[in-house]
């Protein structure tokens, strides 16, 4: 991969993750849905409950509502040809369900599709 190829892929990957961030900040799952693969999965603990499935995520985002003060940081982006891993650290989570000042670590895996990079899984750790 040349430098410019790498940057093109990097930008495409971060663009999808940014859609997740925008949806989270505004509390609108419709903003992040296009970034997800139709068969995407979602895994993690919300308190003691194991949350599985992207529908859980989208419902949660809509019910949580706006989280205007989230501070997202892309910690790492690893690209292996057609697949990629992104670690995102988000602090300052707030909202109807999140409470306030909550921190979350996210692991996104992405697959390169003809329509661009799509999130195929989001795994998360919620610091209760």
């Amino acid at each position: 991969m040349t430098k410019s190829e790498y940057l093109t892929e990097y930008d495409g990957i971060v663009k999808s993750v940014q859609m997740y961030i925008d949806g989270s900040k505004q509390g609108k799952s419709e903003l992040m849905r296009p970034a997800f693969h139709p068969d995407a999965s979602f895994f993690g603990y919300a308190g003691d409950q194991l949350a599985i499935g992207t529908q859980f995520l989208f419902d949660w985002i809509d019910k949580n509502g706006p989280a205007p003060k989230i501070e997202p940081r892309v910690v790492s982006v690893d690209i292996l040809e057609s697949i990629a891993v992104v670690r995102l650290e988000v602090s300052g989570w707030s909202g109807n369900l999140a409470g306030s000042g909550v921190r979350m670590s996210d692991l996104f895996t992405l697959l390169k599709m003809p329509s661009g990079w799509k999130i195929i899984q989001k795994a998360f750790h919620w610091y209760a």
Binding site: S41, F43, E81, I83, V85, T109, I120, Q121, H125
Partner: protein
């Protein structure tokens, strides 16, 4: 914690071999902690601890200022044999599925070892061509995604088990852990596998796999396998 000598001692490599002690050779004694440690392929600190807590036969010569230590090779070998329990033959498959249990006391290493054990379960199944063998490594709701010969595939992990079984044994696969990252209850493992073979894999294929794991009921389970087959 007291070291598990049964596992520690069984890993000892004898530089001098397992033959009868060569009593009449000039090298029959080991003349310092350094030499004893080198003979057992362990650190000086470890062999000192073994002397203190496990009875490793080390002798002392009295001198005016400071005693010196020495050991007889045949005594060291005899001690080691006594402390080696069940020196059974371990098959390659078993060695893959059951890496030696180390007495990890560091919290990070405990999780790291648990994750690699889960991954070795996957590798053992891949090597043997047995989907059921790797099943315990996965969460029941696990999924897979990736491209195989240019065709995108996403779906249930059951298809991996079927593929592996249909592919048959891949005895020469060479898996390497390129990355293991643990974030509390979730983890990501990047596995590079060379020399994939079999009815479906072909010969000498290479795959990059990214596994996401979840700590579930106290055990690390793979929730997603993302793969990329490299062009040959």
């Amino acid at each position: 914690m007291r070291p598990q000598l049964s596992s520690v001692a069984s890993g000892i490599v004898f530089r001098g071999g397992f033959g009868m002690p060569a009593r009449n050779t000039p090298q029959k004694t080991l003349e310092s902690w350094k030499q004893i440690a080198a003979y057992l392929d362990r650190s000086e600190r470890t062999v000192r601890r073994w002397e203190a807590s496990e009875g490793l036969p080390v002798h002392r010569r009295e001198h005016d200022k400071q005693d010196t230590v020495f050991a007889y090779r045949h005594e060291i070998e005899a001690w080691s044999r006594l402390h080696t329990k069940c020196p059974r033959e371990i098959s390659t498959d078993e060695a893959e599925s059951l890496p030696p249990v180390k007495s990890a006391t560091n919290a990070y290493l405990i999780e790291h070892d648990a994750i690699t054990r889960t991954m070795h379960c996957y590798i053992a199944g891949a090597r043997a061509g047995d989907g059921d063998l790797m099943r315990p490594a996965f969460h029941p709701s696990a999924t897979i995604s990736g491209y195989c010969q240019g065709v995108e595939y996403s779906g249930s992990v059951e298809h991996v088990f079927q593929w592996v079984t249909k592919n048959g044994p891949a005895p020469n696969i060479n898996p390497r852990f390129a990355r293991i990252e643990i974030i509390e209850s979730v983890a990501v493992v990047h596995l590079e596998v060379q020399r994939w073979s079999g009815k479906l894999a072909g010969a000498n294929a290479r795959a990059s796999d990214v596994f996401t794991l979840l700590k579930w009921n106290g055990e690390w389970k793979i929730t997603h396998k993302l793969f990329h087959w490299h062009d040959q």
